[in-house]
Symmetry: C2
Subunit: 192 residues, 2 copies
Amino acid sequence: MTRATPPAKPPGRPRAGIDAVVFAATLRTVHELGYTGATMDRIAAAAGVAKTTIYRRWESKGALIVDCILDAFGPLRPESTDRVEILTSAIRLAAAKIGEPGLAAAFAGVFVDAISDPALREVLSTRLQAPYLAALQDALGEPEHRVLLFIDVVVGTLLHRMGMTGAPMVDADVDALTEMVLRQFTASDDPA
Amino acid sequence: MTRATPPAKPPGRPRAGIDAVVFAATLRTVHELGYTGATMDRIAAAAGVAKTTIYRRWESKGALIVDCILDAFGPLRPESTDRVEILTSAIRLAAAKIGEPGLAAAFAGVFVDAISDPALREVLSTRLQAPYLAALQDALGEPEHRVLLFIDVVVGTLLHRMGMTGAPMVDADVDALTEMVLRQFTASDDPA
DNA sequence: GAGTTACGCTACGATCAGTATCGATACCAG
DNA sequence: CTGGTATCGATACTGATCGTAGCGTAACTC
């Protein structure tokens, strides 16, 4: 493994390690006030950091939220070759993460903003959607449109539930969702 | 049937019938610019109506959008007693409507705003969610939590697809979704 | 100590939701 | 035709928010 970061230190005052604090403050604020109510001033205040400092690292509120979601989800690394297990663990991971306070609201908010903001759409697509799609497609060996439908069903359902009720989906419903999805995605080959 | 609207005309200048024009302009603007980009000034201009006139009828942007969605969906009236047919037609209706230009973005936008705006949450819940839930529950004779999961899966999936791609779900995927949902919701009784 | 860069702070420009006000307009009752 | 009433359009305004500019200070390297 070659060193990815050459030790050449840049001159000047080094950046303070504020990412973790800002991410936590962001999720906390979004959880309490919703995406719209979570203003950059409030997030900065909650993090104990100047707003200008945040804007030096993230180009917009949407970009901050996307990074926040990425940080919360973490890398997706399928550990199995068993299709049932891959699908099941992906659903459980999604359910657990989307159920975390603030994450669903953050997700939905950045989603809506991306519709009218091409730059944010690009960030969302490149950093969030593409990697997870590729990882799943790679693990499952399925055609893209099947994996896309899988993602739509799982993430869409979980987000809709959180948006409707404000509470995470109960385990019984997650089980039902899993059962339903498994029947569809472990059945015979793609009929289309 | 007794007359619901007694003919007592209120004094003063009658209101102009602008609802249809405003709804059309709203959906058109949301389709072109997204929920965030569809400002009330732009919607009013597109409708050829003063912004103040819109605010005389709808208490907020969110309330206007909710009415707009209601108008687009229309009343839900299950015409069959066959469970498969009820579910199938409900999914097709949802897919067709959510695929209409602007509707998905309007839906998602009002959803996000409702999280931080209790008044809007109330409007959304009372006028949109409750009626459709009741109608479906009545037609299917299923426990509430099953119908809620059905709605989450169908609407959530369709909205997520529209948000991701900006284009309506293709028929083949709607068929796959229908097939998957039918297997789950026409199976043996609620296992929970 | 000189150079460079990050930080916090304050102020600012632009945009948008929603309100206030005012003259003009349309309808009804007498 | 006249008075009363409520709507319409237009303009101006308030307050909140995103994002930026400028400045003095702090931290780190050479």
